[in-house]
Symmetry: C2
């Protein structure tokens, strides 16, 4: 694939990630969902192990968004995008912050890996994997206190 | 990309995943490491947030393998591979089992997402993300008890 095509595709994917993050910050569920393929599969921060299809994923956002009092803070760091002709993947570290309705303040770094497909000339998210590691010291505690 | 090429690439990637899993089960570190690109980045089950480069990833296996008394059980389930010309990604659920040297018996389902690059005609693993979700009930416990 020509270098200029790769550069264009990388720019388009970066734009898709930026638009998705902007939609998430403002809790705009329709705009968030516009990023996904219908056959989308998510491995998310909260159980279950996997979520299949956009309908189930939307329900996850509908439950999560109202737990924030106001907008959600979402920064993308160390983004790496590997682009092929119609398939790409990215990985990055995201910082999620915000005031929760229960009074808690969230400030957590998560790892995000995304699989993209170009369908009808447009890049979409086919797969998303977001997680934190966990401490293997017998506590099995999620490592929500790590910083890069 | 022609359908026959896609089918061949998917078969080669499936073979790479199978060989990697076989090497892991028998704790053959050199064979495990043969799957990775030098610039490999891992988001692993245990901290830190990310591991950059094969040298650091090898150290992780060198610490983890001896915690099993005998071979490691590793099954791949619900494998989905999305193949492009020189870039691909996969996701699956893996069951890890085995007797630990501390007497515990491990039996855990994890989510695995892998990013592949075809370099010099050979598919390699450029990125790996393995995780379990965690319970958002205030306990922040890793969900090591989930089954698909």
């Amino acid at each position: 694939m020509a270098t200029t095509e790769t550069a264009t595709d990388e720019r388009l994917i970066r734009q898709l990630i930026d638009e998705w993050a902007k939609a998430l910050r403002s809790k705009d569920i329709s705009a968030v969902m516009a990023a996904y393929t219908p056959a989308f599969v998510a491995f998310d921060l909260a159980p279950p192990l996997q979520v299949r299809g956009t309908e189930a994923h939307r329900k996850g956002f509908e439950a999560w968004f109202p737990s924030f009092d106001g907008p959600i803070g979402h920064e993308t760091h160390q983004l790496s995008i590997t682009v092929g002709e119609n398939v790409a993947f990215s990985h990055c570290l995201n910082r999620i912050t915000g005031k929760r309705t229960d009074g808690e303040h969230t400030d957590v770094w998560v790892r995000a890996t995304v699989g993209f497909r170009k369908i009808g000339g447009r890049w979409l998210v086919a797969h998303e994997h977001v997680s934190v590691p966990f401490y293997m010291d017998g506590s099995d505690k999620a490592a929500v206190d790590l910083k890069p």
